[in-house]
Symmetry: C3
């Protein structure tokens, strides 16, 4: 019995293009039969937010964070070439033209391929994000769980 190869990605970034890169690598690795974990921390948690408004109890600062941060993968901005919001739109047009998968589609594909999507509980706490606001069928864990996966990983990336 050969052990499965393992890929782990820390998704720290809240940029659409970086999250795309993370999910493309994750889906590729899953297709090559790796066990894959994406550990979403800090701004990377935004990729896991549900699009609809979810009613949860929040303090003032937590409400502000919730307002200021993009609500879900589709709302995230680019790391480069914003041009007053023109950049993301252009990229999405280009992606449509080339039939490239959008970030929400890449996330769905990852879930179908059993990529383990983890939300970092420590930063959820800091940013005031509740489980109800995040996608279904994800896991919740801290840095110890990440390290347990990564220390046997073949490909470990921080994005």
């Amino acid at each position: 019995m050969t052990e499965k190869k393992r890929t782990t990605i820390v998704l720290f970034s809240g940029d659409y293009d970086k999250a795309m890169a993370a999910y493309i690598i994750a889906n590729g690795a899953a297709a090559y039969d790796h066990e894959v974990t994406i550990f979403h921390t800090f701004w990377g948690l935004n990729a896991l937010r549900k699009e609809e408004e979810i009613e949860v109890e929040k303090g003032f600062i937590e409400k502000m964070f919730a307002k200021m941060m993009p609500k879900g993968a589709d709302k995230m901005g680019l790391s480069k070439m914003h041009f007053a919001g023109f950049g993301p739109k252009m990229i999405k047009n280009v992606m449509k033209k080339h039939n490239a998968l959008t970030l929400p589609q890449l996330i769905e594909m990852a879930q179908e391929q059993d990529v383990k999507l983890v939300a970092c509980t420590m930063t959820m706490d800091l940013l005031g994000l509740k489980e109800e606001e995040l996608l279904d069928n994800i896991e919740y864990a801290g840095v110890a769980a990440y390290l347990a996966d990564a220390e046997d990983g073949n490909v470990n990336l921080f994005i």
Copy 2:
């Protein structure tokens, strides 16, 4: 027979300083007899662009991307301290003063040391970049080829 150690770098960033870091690590690893691959994706592809204008057929959006993105390693900006373009110039002056290698020189050295420079075909397609516009003697591949190199890698980085 001992197997060679292996280093792979995904160069996602289009920043001069991050690309420098990538190429310094790559050249160091090659000097220590690692097999080294730099997989250029998204904005990192700009490091591989030729400086001169190359005539290729492009659609409107592809032409805009081509205009907006830096043409070659020497034109890339800094990740920090832009100060209206003052930062990159200052860094380059400082580098000259310290006889540090410039990014184009680091890329040339990498090619001499047989570092495998790969351009990501999927993002070339998205950004409308053609092979004629990129440096000679590089390879073209997708995420599967990257993963094949990385899964046996000793040092795998995403920059």
Copy 3:
């Protein structure tokens, strides 16, 4: 005798939140008995700067760099959500509310856990930083030393 697991982090970024992520992973890995190295290069060196003004001989450009770069971990900005400096303050308030460790506290904890903190001599040279300006009890090395640690690393990250 089992060999210790090993984690290495290149801290390239000068952002408070990214440095926090680096030190949280490093402290976690040290707690799980990994040998841990953080190699501070480029803007990541700012995390190691002493807060007080240190008198050292500098040229004009080096003085400008010294002025423009944050003096120590506590002065670093966020990678996202600056809002004219409002972001970092909000994050720090939230951290205090949740009793989360600040970056200076995380660095101190790393030193207590024998995480090896290394300053990249090549970029110290470029940015004009002197040993006297950096924290005590750190090491000074170049890319070769980093690679020697990383090539046997279980978890190698570039942040």
